[in-house]
């Protein structure tokens, strides 16, 4: 066998970094519809590291695996436009409401179904939750070692990978056996843009669900070009135990959600004129906040 088989775990997330005024509904809940859905940023870094291995190792395949609603197929196509070979969408109502443990259970079953593989690579964390838990939890469920916070893949050879990690206070280079799970830090190289050749090739890639929803008629096209099929897997396809999925399979429960209410302190409002600012600085010096 030539090359490596790489699985990229990716997530479509609401763009929580660009929360506009209409992001909250009148009742104070989050208006998901007002937030655009994007490719989780660190998952793009992970895709880039995977594509770099593919660049340098002929015969390498990069498969994207995501879990989410039907529209999450968008990020699989996005990954294909940038160089991924194929993708799988793990989608089923029974997955809804899963916490990180239940999510990692579902993902690990899907990854097992894609065996054999050399490397599972994912972003360190997703911006909607910032937990950084799913990568290590998938690794544990697969019984594989994990290398977290990767910044660079220094070398890959048959059965062995060398990874530079970005830690809080420095860097560490580790050598680990494959297969394994790697999570990627935002300091890793940015993902390459779409490539025209790939974009043309995969423009019509669809899941079956999308074909049903949009009455697009690509059946003949797909017969001719089977790579345009993005496979959808449900609970039954990965052989999941429903009791370990969704809300009921999640040990963490949300007891209470509070909207952020800004509690005011007694606040003095000043203007930028000289008198106000001199008064302020004097006050801070006099009450020993400064000096």
């Amino acid at each position: 066998m030539k090359g490596f088989k790489i699985i990229v775990l990716a997530k479509q997330v609401p763009d929580t970094r660009n929360v506009g005024k209409d992001a909250m509904k009148a009742d104070g809940t989050v208006n998901r519809a007002a937030l655009s859905a994007i490719f989780n940023p660190e998952d793009l870094n992970a895709l880039e590291l995977a594509l770099r291995i593919k660049d340098n190792n002929e015969g390498t395949t990069v498969t994207v695996l995501t879990m989410g609603p039907g529209r999450a197929a968008e990020i699989i196509r996005e990954a294909m436009y940038r160089g991924a070979d194929n993708g799988y969408l793990l989608t089923d109502r029974k997955f809804a409401g899963s916490d990180t443990l239940a999510t990692s259970y579902a993902l690990s079953l899907a990854v097992k179904k894609l065996e054999p593989f050399d490397l599972v690579i994912a972003g360190r964390q997703a911006i909607d939750g910032d937990t950084a838990q799913v990568g290590p939890q998938v690794a544990e469920k697969l019984g594989l070692p994990q290398v977290t916070y990767a910044e660079e893949i220094m070398s890959v050879s048959r059965g062995k990978i060398t990874v530079k990690r970005r830690l809080e206070r420095g860097v560490e280079t580790v050598e680990a056996p494959m297969p394994l799970v790697v999570t990627v830090h935002s300091s890793a190289p940015e993902c390459r843009p779409r490539h025209a050749k790939h974009t043309i090739k995969f423009k019509h890639a669809r899941t079956l669900g999308e074909l049903q929803d949009t009455s697009e008629d690509y059946l003949q096209l797909r017969k001719d070009r089977p790579y345009l099929l993005i496979e959808e897997w449900g609970v039954g396809d990965v052989g999941a135990d429903v009791a370990q999925l969704g809300l009921s399979g999640s040990p963490t429960k949300v007891r209470k959600i509070e909207n952020v209410v800004f509690t005011g302190r007694e606040s003095k409002v000043l203007t930028a004129d000289d008198n106000s600012l001199e008064g302020l600085m004097k006050e801070l010096i006099d009450n020993h906040t400064l000096g």
Partner: protein, 339 residues
């Protein structure tokens, strides 16, 4: 059984600050639950380490002293802590939300099939009634954290599974000596019963740990900038002001993402938590993740051209206007009045 465990990280032979902070919080929770507080320390050359943790209220310290356990590696530490938790059945397990804790805790949660909440900003004990079934739960750990980009604050609970696991960032909990004379029991772990050859298949071939250069956590005065500062050039003004006031410069996540300032200086839920005597927020709108990292500051000044910026509501002083005009004046009048 049913005690509170704190995984203590070792840095240069010392128990890390974040672990001591967690012991302080753990002591408080243990008094509330009337249970014991137990520390777990894994590493090499740990003789006398108990003297560092007992003053913070630990009743028991579990020590595994083995040269293979330093520096930290995921698999051996996860095997030992998972094994110890299976044996001791704690009710709560706390980890620092550090590069070690955030690597280790999810691995353990997965192995034990229990719930884990990352980056908690508060931990409390309380009861819960399941609305659907009416089932009542006593004395759960409320794990409180901002979520969904900081637009909401969620209280997470783990009603059924134990231990209830949480990570907390450095600086969020307050480190407090419980009693200098507090003594506990030292238990040496037989780590070999949980370790196997397969735990040592990853090799660290090179590491250089750089001491943190900037230390905004201990600064008495912090001048922080947000996206509203506008440019890296304008950030120089913040450095000027911090220099004059003897403080440090910090930034919000938006300022870090915008490339105005380096990540080590980020204040907030995914950065550092600070509680200086004076926090000057320049061009910071005040999203909850940012506020979670600074709202304990003694005095907050907000400089913003938007009178409606949310940060103004927690500020003691709000100066409305252009920071390129205001900051030079603050420097001028500080220098004039300290002489």
């Amino acid at each position: 059984m049913d005690n509170i465990f704190v995984y203590c990280e070792i840095e240069d032979g010392h128990v890390a600050e974040v672990s001591l902070e967690l012991l302080s919080k753990g002591r408080f929770l243990a008094d509330r639950l009337k249970c014991r507080l137990e520390a777990v320390v894994l590493g090499n050359g740990l003789k006398g380490v108990e003297k560092q943790v007992f003053p913070f209220g630990a009743d028991v310290i579990h020590i595994a002293d083995d040269k293979r356990l330093t520096p930290y590696q995921t698999l051996p530490h996860a095997s030992i802590v998972s094994g110890l938790f299976r044996q001791e059945k704690p009710c709560i397990g706390l980890f620092g939300a550090t590069s070690v804790g955030r690597d280790l805790a999810p691995r353990i949660a997965s192995a034990l099939k229990c719930g884990l909440t990352a980056d908690c900003t508060a931990l409390e004990i309380g009861d819960h009634t399941e609305s659907k079934t009416g089932k009542e739960y006593k004395d759960l750990l409320y794990q409180i954290r901002p979520a969904f980009g900081g637009n909401i604050i969620a209280t997470i609970i783990n009603p059924e599974t134990r231990p209830q696991l949480a990570t907390v960032r450095e600086g969020v909990m307050k480190k407090e000596v419980y009693s200098d004379g507090h003594q506990g029991e030292v238990k040496l772990l037989d780590a070999d019963k949980w370790l196997g050859d397969s735990d040592f298949i990853v090799n660290i071939i090179e590491r250089h740990i750089e001491k943190r250069k900037v230390n905004i956590k201990n600064a008495g005065v912090i001048v922080a900038g947000g996206y509203g500062v506008g440019s890296k050039e304008n950030f120089r003004l913040l450095y000027d002001l911090a220099g004059v006031l003897g403080g440090e410069v910090a930034g919000s996540r938006a300022a870090v993402d915008g490339g105005f300032i380096e990540h080590e200086r980020q204040v907030g839920q995914t950065g550092v938590t600070v509680r200086p005597k004076l926090y000057i927020a320049c061009g910071i709108s005040g999203q909850i993740q940012h506020r979670a990292g600074m709202d304990q500051s003694a005095i907050i000044i907000s400089i913003n051209n938007d009178p409606e910026a949310p940060i103004n509501q927690i500020a003691d002083y709000t100066i409305i206007g252009d920071l390129t005009e205001i900051i030079p004046k603050m420097i001028k009048y500080y220098q004039k009045n300290t002489k």
